[in-house]
Structures are given as structure tokens and as C-alpha cells.
């Protein structure tokens, strides 16, 4: 009980301190009182202290197994390994909100500390905004979802704590949610400084300089979180893929899309003082989307396998907060619009400014599309419910022809259910539109480096285009003729249009990057004689942002290469007896046998498969099903993969009969899938190079 009381007090103090900090920041800025502003700055640091204390208390409760706290009781079990007891902190709604507060206060404190002297003008406003956001989440903790809520069954014998689902007890649970949180929460910092810039009127790029590293950091961790999530699904869930356009997956993708656009767009403002409005819009939307993502996963508004569950009260609260953010931010933007005029005009279509403008538009459209398609099912449901309840709404729907008046009248008469239905939007819909958009972005990634700022001479553009274009065509031809040679079973569409286009564009963009490195090294060596390796290293170090960015682009190209393989996937679901051989593309898979084993935690049935190709053995697969004693009704499926550069052979068990050995297998061949992970590692390396760069570097690289 002590922990519960202490913890609740902590959370209360957190809320009150946030409110106080907001007040101090606002009043301090208005009165220009150094004393009050200093108070607000110390307030932010103080908030961190309280948040850390609250988090430590909760962790202590988990580690000591204090089941008098409801949250601990529902999410922990004495037999759980220590690591999962620690990570159970953010495993469920209440704790995840506290985790959000902890991270946000940490980032706020760091950001304020770093910028206290450099951007004195912006600080009080940034502090106020950050404290407001923290205050909102703290209010949620105090009034709605207190993680320190006591588990009030004092008279009964302590019930068996429920423990964490074994499906969630794997290393990905340790890394994936925190990474996503790190990415999402840190976007509040650029937002706060952007709003501070608007409020104070200092809308030149000083505010961006203060948050450049934060934006990169957020972008990087969002990418890590997304890919880890995909990898987790691929390795653990057994349906052979890694991305299903599930609403919660989309919720994490949305801020990443706008954040990428933002990262590129601020370069234009730095160089040419253009796209000021765009940058502010992008930072507002990026932050909004992080709150929107939290809303989607926690409110139960969308149907998803990942969602925390329904909570209408939370949905309304978040909805209100989001409305305030939108109205407030765009209101500020409108108020200061005259300060945001461009210094320069767009001179030529063949310029990097235009390429970045196009880039902004495409990412924004991607984000709007994904958001719209994710929310559309829910909108159809709300529409139906509204129509059932409100006459005026029904009339409007009839007038628009969306609902059929006669059908409704009949249903009403006959006392049946109202004839409206919700809609679900599956991956096919997303893929149909996102594939061309994605490939368009890949094309832009290739064209971007080829054009210069302000304008590019047509002659030099042509000269630069030739080699990459040639590489693209060659890649396309290799794919068009090479794939049929490799795959001889005719089970797929050889000339998959999008697949071939993807390969061609990969070749094109890849060659652009090679060209940039090659020419850069050549220029450097012309200016001072040195070895190629020295020149290469010197180039990357000297113009870290540019060449770090190129490394990231290289990673993207590799990921697209991996995605292009999706067009040629193979899938077989069949039941076989031991000794039978199944063909999957070029591979022959032989069912060797099944065995039953057990350890202290679970019963296991493992199916042994031998994989060979053209007579030579490639490897073994051992898919399994596990029955944890703790949860006897929910077996988990263990996937087995044979990983090769050319693709994965992937097997999971649907069903197995131990008396006859008959097993029903799901077999997949995923071409090129490992290039997605390799590409991601490259992206990470490039991101780290970029973060390490100091902004004051000469960008020439010469």
C-alpha cells in the first residue's frame, strides 16, 4: 500500500508541477522576468525528477512483485524473467502513459539545457509548451489511468497474478515499443521550438538549428521501431510477411513520413530561406500524428490486433487534445503568416528546391492517404451509428445518396437491423496505391542529387542522367530475363509490372549514388592528391550531412530492392506425411519427421524438414508449436527460416497429428527479403553519420 500511496502522490505532484511550470513560463515571458523564466526552467528539470521517482517506484513494485498494485498484478508473474518484469512497465496502458511522461520530461530537460543560452528568446515559450504536453499526460495519469491504482481485494487470498502473455516475452518486446516511443515522444521538442518561434516572431531558421539533431534522432528511432516491429511480426507470428498495413502499424508510419519530409525541407529553408510555411506545417503535423498514433492505439477507435482495447473516455480526451493542438498551432501559423514570406522565388523546375517541394508533396500525400484509409472504416461505423441515432444526419445521408432511404424504411418497419455496414480496408488496397507512390519517391531519390540549387543546366543534367538511366534499363532487363531463368515453376506472374519497375528504379537510383560518390572523390583528389580511400573518408567526414544522407538513400534503395522481391513471393499450404517431398519454387522440401519434447515451461512439438535445391542440400527447417503450461489453450507457433541473400524459405506449422505424423504446413518463399534488413542497417549507419555532423561544417566537401 505504501508504494501505491507514494506513487499516486508522485503523479499528483507531477501534474501540479507541470501546471506551475506552464504558468511560470507564460507569465515570465509576458513580463520578461528572468526570475520567473528561471523558475520555469527549473520546473522542467524538477518534472524530470518527479517522473524518474514515479518510474522507479513502479519498477520497484514490479521487481519486488508487489501485487497490491493493480497494474503489477495484471502484468506480472513471479516466474517471469527479470528483464520482462522491467519491460512490463510499458506493456500496458497505464504504464505506457507514465513511460511517455518519463521520456518527454527527459527530452524536455535535455533540450532546455542545450538551448538555454543559445536561444534565450525561445526558451520560456518552448518550456511552456513542453510542460503543457507533459501536463496533459500527467492529467490522464491522475484522473483516468493511474498506474498505482491499488488492487482492492484485501479480504480474498491473493489471486494468481496473470502474468504476461508468452507471445510477448521475447527480445523484441524489450526493444520495439521503447524505440517507437523514443521516436514519437522526441518529436515534441521540434514542435515546441517551432511554436516558440511563431509566438516570438523569430521565425528564421534559428529554431530549426536548435532542434535539428532532435528531428534526426526522432526520425532514426521511429525507423528503428517500425523495422523492429516488422521483423518481430516476420519472425514470431508465422504468416510469412512483415507489414500488414494494420492501423497500429500505420500509426507509427505516419509521423515517420512527415518527419522525413521535414528533414529534407529544412535544408531548403537553410539554404534559400524558402518553404518556411511548409516547415512549420510539417512540424505541426508530425507532432500531431504522434498524438494521433497514441490515440489510435489506445482508444479502441480502430479495429486492430495490436490495439490496447476500447476506452471511450480516453478517446474523447485525446480527441479534445488533438483538436486543441490543431486549432492552436494553425491559428498561430495564420497569425504570423506575414513573417513567413519566402525570401526567394522558385526559379526553375530543374532545381533542388523544386525536387524538395515535390518531395514534400509526395510524403504528405502518402501520409494523408494512409491516415484516411486507416480511419475510413471507423468513419463508416460512426456514420452508421449517427444515422441510427439522429434524424437530421440520416436525412443528409439520404440526400447525398450514401444511404438508401427505402432500405432503411423497410428495415425499420420489419424490426430488423439497420442496413449500414462498416468497411474493412485490407493490405491490397494500401498496396495498390502506395506501391506507385513509393516508387515515385524512389525515382525522386535518384533525381534529387543530380540537380543543383536554383537551377541546373540542361546540358549537364543530360550528361549526368545518361549513366544512371542506362543502369536502370540494364537492371530492368536483367530482372525481366533473369527471373524466369531462376524460377521455373511458373507459379507467379513473370512480368510483374511493378516488380520490374522497382528493379529498374533501384538500378537508376543506385547508380546516381555511385556517381555522386565517384565524382565527389574525383573532385577531392583533384584538389589535393590522396588515395581513393582517403578521399572517400575525407569526403564523408567533410560533408557529413550530404554524404551521410546518401548512405541513408543507399539503404532505402536496398530496402526497395527487398520489397521488389515481394512481387515474386510463393506460398503453399498443405498437409503432408513424413517422407513426402514438396516443391517450392526451386527448392525441394522433405518432411523428415516430427518429435515431441518438453522443458520446465512448455511442451513442444517440432517438425523437421530438409531443404535441398537441385539435389544439393541447402539446410534444415524446424518449425514448432509450443504449449506453455501457464496458458494451455494458446499454443504459440515458432517459425523456422532458411535465410539466403536470394530469399527466405519460411515454414510454420498450422496443425500436427502426433499419432500419424501428418502435419499441415504453411510454406513461403520470400525472395530478396533479407535485403530489407540489410538496407535498414545501412540506413541506420547513414543516420548516425548525419547525427554526428556539426551544422557549421562547410557543405562543399572539397
Amino acid at each position: 500500500m505504501l508504494i501505491s500511496t507514494l506513487g499516486t502522490i508522485c503523479v499528483l505532484v507531477l501534474f501540479l508541477l507541470s501546471v506551475a511550470t506552464v504558468a511560470l513560463g507564460v507569465v515570465g515571458a509576458a513580463r520578461r522576468s528572468e526570475r520567473l523564466i528561471e523558475g520555469s526552467v527549473q520546473g522542467i528539470h524538477g518534472i524530470l525528477g518527479v517522473a524518474v521517482l514515479a518510474s522507479m517506484l513502479l519498477e520497484y513494485a514490479f521487481l519486488s512483485g508487489d501485487t497490491s498494485i493493480q497494474y503489477v498484478h495484471h502484468n506480472s508473474h513471479p516466474a517471469m524473467p527479470v528483464v520482462y518484469k522491467i519491460t512490463a512497465f510499458w506493456g500496458s496502458l497505464d504504464g505506457s502513459l507514465l513511460f511517455w511522461v518519463l521520456l518527454l520530461s527527459l527530452f524536455a530537460s535535455l533540450a532546455v539545457r542545450a538551448n538555454r543560452q543559445r536561444h534565450r528568446v525561445l526558451i520560456p515559450h518552448a518550456v511552456a509548451i513542453l510542460a503543457t504536453i507533459i501536463g496533459f499526460f500527467a492529467a490522464l495519469l491522475v484522473f483516468m489511468n493511474n498506474p498505482f491504482e491499488p488492487w482492492l481485494l484485501p479480504d480474498m487470498a491473493p489471486t494468481q497474478p496473470k502474468g504476461l502473455n508468452p507471445l510477448l516475452q521475447n527480445p523484441y518486446m524489450v526493444c520495439h515499443p521503447p524505440s517507437l516511443y523514443l521516436g514519437m515522444v522526441s518529436l515534441a521538442v521540434p514542435y515546441a521550438f517551432g511554436m516558440a518561434a511563431l509566438i516570438t516572431g523569430h521565425v528564421d531558421e534559428a529554431w530549426q538549428r536548435s532542434v535539428r539533431r532532435w528531428t534526426l534522432f526522432a526520425w532514426l528511432f521511429l525507423a528503428i521501431g517500425l523495422v523492429l516491429g516488422g521483423l518481430w511480426a516476420y519472425e514470431e507470428l508465422g504468416w510469412g510477411g512483415y507489414w500488414a498495413w494494420d492501423p497500429v502499424e500505420n500509426a507509427g508510419l505516419l509521423p515517420w513520413l512527415t518527419c522525413t519530409a521535414f528533414l529534407h525541407s529544412i535544408m531548403v529553408q537553410e539554404r534559400r530561406g524558402m518553404l518556411k510555411v511548409w516547415n512549420l506545417v510539417l512540424v505541426i503535423i508530425s507532432f500531431f500524428l504522434t498524438i494521433f498514433g497514441t490515440f489510435l492505439t489506445r482508444s479502441g477507435v480502430v479495429q486492430s490486433v495490436h490495439a490496447f482495447g476500447e476506452d471511450p473516455a480516453l478517446a474523447w480526451t485525446f480527441g479534445g487534445f488533438m483538436a486543441v493542438i490543431l486549432v492552436g498551432s494553425f491559428g498561430l501559423l495564420f497569425w504570423r503568416r506575414r513573417l513567413l514570406r519566402s525570401r526567394h522565388e522558385l526559379e526553375s523546375v530543374l532545381s533542388r528546391e523544386f525536387a524538395f517541394l515535390l518531395n514534400n508533396w509526395m510524403f504528405l500525400i502518402c501520409a494523408l492517404f494512409v491516415a484516411g484509409a486507416t480511419m475510413y472504416p471507423t468513419i463508416t461505423q460512426w456514420s452508421g451509428l449517427l444515422a441510427e441515432k439522429y434524424d437530421w444526419y440520416r436525412e443528409v445521408m439520404f440526400a447525398l445518396g450514401i444511404y438508401d432511404e427505402s432500405a432503411w424504411a423497410t428495415a425499420l418497419l420489419e424490426g430488423k437491423a439497420m442496413p449500414w455496414s462498416r468497411v474493412t480496408i485490407g493490405p491490397a488496397f494500401f498496396n495498390h496505391y502506395m506501391t506507385p507512390l513509393g516508387l515515385g519517391l524512389l525515382l525522386l531519390t535518384g533525381i534529387g542529387p543530380l540537380v543543383a540549387w536554383r537551377k541546373t543546366s540542361t546540358a549537364s543534367l543530360r550528361e549526368q542522367f545518361i549513366a544512371p538511366l542506362g543502369a536502370g534499363v540494364v537492371a530492368l532487363l536483367i530482372a525481366a530475363f533473369g527471373i524466369p531463368l531462376v524460377r521455373m515453376d511458373g507459379e507467379f506472374e513473370v512480368l510483374s509490372g511493378w516488380g520490374l519497375t522497382a528493379f529498374g528504379l533501384c538500378g537508376f537510383t543506385f547508380w546516381t549514388l555511385v556517381q555522386e560518390f565517384y565524382r565527389g572523390v574525383a573532385v577531392r583528389r583533384k584538389n589535393r592528391p590522396q588515395s581513393v580511400l582517403d578521399a572517400l573518408i575525407g569526403l564523408v567526414v567533410r560533408a557529413r550531412r550530404r554524404y551521410g544522407g546518401y548512405i541513408v538513400h543507399l539503404g532505402i534503395v536496398l530496402m526497395f530492392f527487398g520489397w521488389a522481391g515481394n512481387a515474386y513471393k510463393l506460398e503453399r499450404k498443405l498437409g503432408i506425411y513424413p517422407g513426402e517431398i514438396v516443391a517450392l519454387g526451386d527448392y525441394q522440401i522433405e518432411y523428415v519427421g516430427a518429435r515431441a519434447t518438453q522443458d520446465w515451461q512448455k511442451d513442444m512439438i517440432t517438425v523437421e524438414l530438409s531443404v535441398s535445391r537441385d539435389g544439393a542440400k541447402s539446410g534444415d527447417l524446424e518449425p514448432a508449436k509450443w504449449w506453455y503450461y501457464q496458458l494451455p489453450d494458446q499454443p504459440t507457433t515458432e517459425v523456422s527460416r532458411l535465410m539466403r541473400p536470394g530469399g527466405d524459405v519460411y515454414a510454420s506449422i498450422a496443425d500436427v497429428d502426433m499419432s500419424t505424423g501428418w502435419t499441415r504446413l504453411n510454406l513461403y518463399y520470400n525472395p530478396l527479403v533479407n535485403w530489407v534488413w540489410v538496407g535498414f542497417a545501412t540506413l541506420l549507419a547513414g543516420g548516425i553519420v548525419c547525427i554526428g555532423s556539426k551544422r557549421e561544417e562547410a557543405e562543399g566537401g572539397g
Binding site: 521487481l63 540549387w453 541546373t456 549537364s460
Partner: protein, 209 residues
């Protein structure tokens, strides 16, 4: 831009704080294990951490109150006035931006993205603007803070030991006093320039690298 440097007081406080934390946690740990007979497991470690964060939290709260209790320091927060007009900071921003743009332009030209004609015309535009900006900065008669600091140092050094006259600028027409360290003479017009200048502020030509 002047970066805030850590004062010596702060620099010394860090290791002291770390030692205090280390001693405090060990002491708390010993207290728990020996006096309260707690087991030496992860929960005890967590409890020690709770203790530490309690101290940190209270300290933070104390600091907030402390900041408010202090009398008003300097009530003026902003040193720059208008945002609408072109302030000195913005001019420096623009100069830095222009210099970087010229650098990048040269690199792009060498990489083959711009023809000679285009390169010359765009660069001329940048250089002209850079000249205007630097003139405006000089006319403001405000010194770059680093330059001012260097001047102050030079004045103090000069008081101690007089500087040889051949290091002083020959051209007395320059409006900005030169630093006592070597200045750069322009090859075309012989005017004096800042040591880190890339373009002559009198005639606008590029200075020898």
C-alpha cells in the same frame, strides 16, 4: 555565435556529485541489507534507485523554489529588438548562408552539375549579395562578439607589450579596427580584411585561399 562555456564551478561540481551519488547508494544499500535484512537481489537494487531518485526529485523541487525566491536578476531577456526589420543577427545568418551556398556551388560545378556559364552567373549573384550584407554589417559598426573579445585581448596584450608596427594595417580608411593579429590584404585592391574572410569587403573579389 558565442557558445556558453562551462564555468569552472560547474566543472568541479560534476565529479563531486557523482561521488556523492556513489557513496549515497552504497550507504543506502548497506542500510537495507544489514539493518532491514533485505535480500541482496534486484528488488533491493531497485529500492536503492528509488532512494536516489527521491533525493534527486526533492533537490529538483528545491531548485524550483530557489529560482523563484531569488530576487530579479536582469529583467531584460531580449537583446535584439525588432523581428520585422533586418536585425544584425539575421544579417550574420545570411552571410553565413551565402558563403556556404558559394562553397556548395563550387563543389556542384566541379561535380559537373552546372555549366561554366551558369556557375559564373549564379556565383556573381551570390557574391554581390554577400558584399551588400557585409557592407551592411560593417555600417552598423557593431562588432562580431568574437572580434570584440579578440580586440579586448589584443588591447590588454598591447598594454603589456607594444605590438610591432608592421603588423598594424596600413590602410587607415577601414572603418572597422583590425585585430592585432595579422590581417589579410586583398591582392587586387590592397585593402585589409578579417583573417577568416573569403571575399574582400572593399572590392568584392575572392581572397587568395
Amino acid at each position: 555565435m558565442v557558445e556558453a562555456t562551462q564555468s569552472p564551478v560547474v566543472a568541479n561540481a560534476r565529479p563531486r556529485a557523482l561521488i556523492a551519488i556513489a557513496i549515497g547508494s552504497v550507504a543506502l544499500g548497506l542500510f537495507l541489507v544489514v539493518v532491514l535484512r533485505a535480500r541482496l537481489d534486484i528488488a533491493t537494487v531497485a529500492l536503492v534507485l528509488v532512494g536516489l531518485s527521491l533525493v534527486g526529485c526533492l533537490r529538483g523541487l528545491h531548485r524550483v523554489v530557489g529560482a523563484l525566491a531569488k530576487g530579479a536578476l536582469d529583467t531584460v531577456v531580449e537583446t535584439e529588438s525588432e523581428y520585422g526589420g533586418v536585425s544584425e543577427r539575421e544579417l550574420r545568418e545570411e552571410r553565413r548562408r551565402l558563403l556556404r551556398a558559394i562553397n556548395e556551388l563550387r563543389f556542384d560545378h566541379e561535380m559537373g552539375k552546372l555549366s561554366q556559364v551558369d556557375y559564373d552567373s549564379v556565383r556573381a549573384g551570390y557574391e554581390l549579395r554577400a558584399l551588400e550584407v557585409m557592407r551592411a554589417l560593417d555600417a552598423g559598426e557593431t562588432l562580431h562578439p568574437e572580434l570584440a573579445a579578440r580586440l579586448a585581448q589584443a588591447a590588454a596584450a598591447e598594454a603589456a607589450a607594444p605590438v610591432p608596427s608592421d603588423l598594424l594595417p596600413a590602410d587607415a580608411a577601414t572603418s572597422v579596427p583590425e585585430a592585432a593579429s595579422a590581417s589579410r590584404a586583398c591582392a587586387s585592391c590592397d585593402g585589409g580584411n578579417d583573417p577568416d574572410a573569403k571575399f574582400c569587403k572593399h572590392c568584392g573579389k575572392e581572397l587568395a585561399a
